[in-house]
Amino acid sequence: MLAERPPTPSKALTGIQGLDEITGGGLPAGRPTLICGTAGCGKTMLAMEFLVRGATQFGEPGVFMMFEENAAELSANVRPLGFDLEKLAAQKMILLDYVHIERSQIEETGEYNLEGLFIRLGHAIDSIGAKRVVLDTVEALFSGLPNHAILRAELRRLFRWLKDRGMTAVITGEKGDATITRYGLEEYVADCVIVLDQRIAEQICTRRLRVVKYRGTAHGTNEYPFLIGERGFSVLPITSVHLDHKASAARVPTGIARLDEMLGGKGVFRGSSVLVSGSPGTGKSSIGAKFVDAACRRGENALLFAYEESSAQIVRNMRSIGIDLEPWLEKGLLEIHASRPTLHGLEQHLVMMHDAVRAFRPSVVAVDPISNLTLGRHDLDVKPTLMRLIDFLKQQEITTLFTCLSSDGGATPEDSQLGVSSLMDTWLLLRNVEFNGERNRTIYVLKSRGMAHSNQVREFVLSDAGICLVDVYAGADRVLTGAARVAQETHERTAAEVRRQGHQRRLLRLAGRRKAIEAQIAALQAEAESGAAEVSFAIAQQTLQEQATQQSTQAMTQLRGGAAGGNGRVKEEQLPT
């Protein structure tokens, strides 16, 4: 984000995650900044990181003048964050100077000033060519030097002097009761004041940062939660004020084929957020696990934040439904961050997520469940912080699946107790359906922005073969699932079989009748044929008889002397043969 925006010339980048965004490019360059807060809120860490990052990332050497702990203690304290002060000191990028005043050793007589401190600091700056200076905590001088009038005058001179030398300085101060700092340092350091705060709400501590004042520049004025994590200081950035993330048309399969089918046949959009809500035991975690498993199968990085089960427990439990996450963990494609929600406040969890996402660069993230993060918190806090997280993930084009526990028997299952549903692009609802002495899971797509999606309720079946979605039995007046569905289906199958056999029988009978009719036809035909034969036989017989008669007549005629001898009729009866 910062790379796109050229830093204002008068600002010095801190390199601290989030802080540069809030301050719009860093601390005022060449001017002092006051960082104050209560004990243990991270002032020294912030100052140290400012110096270390200045030295390592921006090539600006720095002097760390400490008044409370010595160099060895400080080095040991920041080593867990990966800051090697000894090495940086050897490279002359950082100079540590421990200023120690033992009150009991000191006696005052007559006038003095703090020129010694100026000379020390000046010498330190010159010896490494420092651009950055940290004074941690200069207020310790107040307990060391009895004459506060001199001290105040000298501190004023010191800050002026730092400014004149063009040092980007960080001065830490302890928080006072009524004032920003106990000794009123804010009077002298007027350019930029950052307050760190540590608050306990319901036994959970949250650290917050606020830029109280930043002369001559716009800055974020809100309180931003921050974390001192494994990679140092991290302030939750305010990227959520921009709603300008790209919208990808690419689709990401959920890992459950039938579910993808319900979502326009291709799954959810890349970079979108998916909410899976449901009452306990409806299979939310399984969908989450399948989702990361599918991403790993595609060779993509997946990150799973688990707030209910440990990493090993998830791996074991998911194996029971045919999802083996272990190979992905071994290959480094999958990271499971399991922690108790009560470990931190919500904001702190989100900062941790930020850190993990930035470090691991996953393409999908699953949070299981998001509702646990809100234990004992007001809904009011939850939404804006979640919005920040979602916006952040969207900007990175990371597809995210959140599971969310909703209580059974609520007024409507659509009640999303976090009020986050409006932030989600796709919402899958899992429900328990109790009927006929058994409980079954159903799933449906409540919404899915920007795509055609099924309006059908599917039965959600978890077995050792994995997850599958089955069409429910949608009868005339009800929807059946589980055994009832199976029974209904069996019943229907039987009925169909009976019907089928009935048809068969009727067909057979029809065929028989047809055969009988054909036989009848054949018999009639035979009868007809035999009748015809008799007729022709009779005709033939008659012909023969007639011929015979004729012949006998002729013979008679000839015998009686021919035509003359007759009465003339004989001639007419003669047939032309």
Binding site: D97, E108, T109
Partner: protein, 108 residues
Amino acid sequence: MTFQVARPAQATAAAAAIFELRLYVAGQTAKSIAAIANLKRICETHLAGQYRIEVIDLTKTPQLAAGDQIIAVPTLVRRLPEPVKKILGDLSNEERVLVGLDVQPARI
């Protein structure tokens, strides 16, 4: 506080070891010059023959400031006898300097 009940000078000299003193100043300022003058006078008066003074000008040798944890100038450091003591200021108040150095004032 008064110092009328002081012991004889010999007793003080015998009891006290050599005073190794270091005066840190920054340049030839009025305060520096006053401090040097005051210190010499006090030492001559009360610690004759038992002291060593080293004046360090931090504007010339700034690296020496860290060693004795100097932040204010002028600072007088009593390095010996132990424990180390520091007296800030131009040493104009002789009584306080003597208290700071833990020296019984010599009776004149």
